[in-house]
């Protein structure tokens, strides 16, 4: 009973790995990464759970595999400040700012104010030439600019995840992952609303009892 039977979704790490590799061949594949933004959000908004993290997230699985099975992790406890709310929310906000900056760059190219910049920016600092993964697009160059920017975000977060995987536990990234924090926040909001509604229902019920009793 030690090993649980593997389900199809336990292999989604292959998808995540493929995604990262495809970005080295054609940057336009980066667009597919939007799925890892929208699916978790849709699941949490629609169902009020973290089904994405808990089941389908291939990135988490990849870290779990590399750090666990392949032993590329020291398996030490993550420091306290990294799991504190302010760090997690702070990182989420930082991530948002970077995301909007990426959208802004896309807009600049779209409006013609700037030319397409064929680089991938790692860790928000290092500009790596990435022209070899760009073979033109029949669409607007802004489509490619978005791809470069988005792939930068995906690769940067992978690098951060790998670093904390090595230093701390395999899936340390999940502690401060913006998608994880965001979906948990959505679940908290949903559950608070549900509680309120339930309380209201209970109150209404009591009220109707009281009315029946003629109090």
């Amino acid at each position: 009973m030690n090993k649980k039977a593997k389900k199809w979704y336990d292999y989604l790490w292959i998808v995540s790995l493929t995604y990262l590799i495809l970005g080295f061949f054609n940057i336009l594949f980066a667009w597919l990464g939007l799925l890892c933004f929208f699916i978790p959000l849709i699941i949490s908004v629609a169902f009020g759970n973290k089904g994405y993290c808990n089941r389908y997230c291939g990135r988490g699985q990849l870290f779990g595999l590399l750090g666990g099975r392949f032993g590329l992790s020291r398996k030490k406890d993550i420091p306290k400040w990294m799991k504190s709310k302010w760090f997690r929310f702070g990182f989420l906000i930082f991530f948002f700012i970077m995301f909007f900056q990426m959208l802004w760059n896309t807009w600049l190219v779209f409006s013609g104010a700037r030319d397409l910049n064929q680089v991938t920016t790692l860790l928000w600092t290092f500009k790596v030439p990435w022209h070899w993964a760009y073979h033109g697009t029949i669409l607007h160059p802004a489509v490619a600019q978005f791809a470069f920017g988005f792939y930068s975000i995906m690769l940067t977060s992978t690098i951060l995840g790998l670093i904390t995987m090595v230093i701390f536990k395999p899936r340390s990234w999940c502690v401060y992952c913006p998608m994880g924090t965001m979906t948990q926040l959505i679940c908290k909001a949903k559950s608070a609303i549900d509680d309120q509604r339930n309380n209201k229902q209970t109150e209404d019920l009591y009220e109707s009892f009281e009315k029946q009793d003629g109090i």
Binding site: K50, C53, G64, K75, K169, C174, V175, C187
Partner: protein, 68 residues
């Protein structure tokens, strides 16, 4: 059976990130993420093996003796 102490997993829920790594490794499904908020342990099922605590990336699970 009088008061008996058994080892059980306990989650520090306000620091839990609800990632579900614990639920993935628990051999008897005694721990699950509740509504995407935090992990909750079914104390009747849990055998205190400590697998979840080892896996938890936030290290917020402790294995503690609990009176049954």
């Amino acid at each position: 059976m009088s008061v008996q102490k058994r080892k059980k997993a306990q989650v520090e829920q306000n620091l839990c990130v609800a990632c579900g790594c614990c639920a993935k490794v628990c051999p008897i499904n005694a721990i699950n993420v509740y509504k995407g908020l935090y992990a909750a342990v079914d104390a009747n099922k849990c055998v205190g093996c400590g697998k979840c605590a080892k896996e938890c990336p936030a290290s917020v699970i402790i294995i503690k003796e609990a009176a049954l």
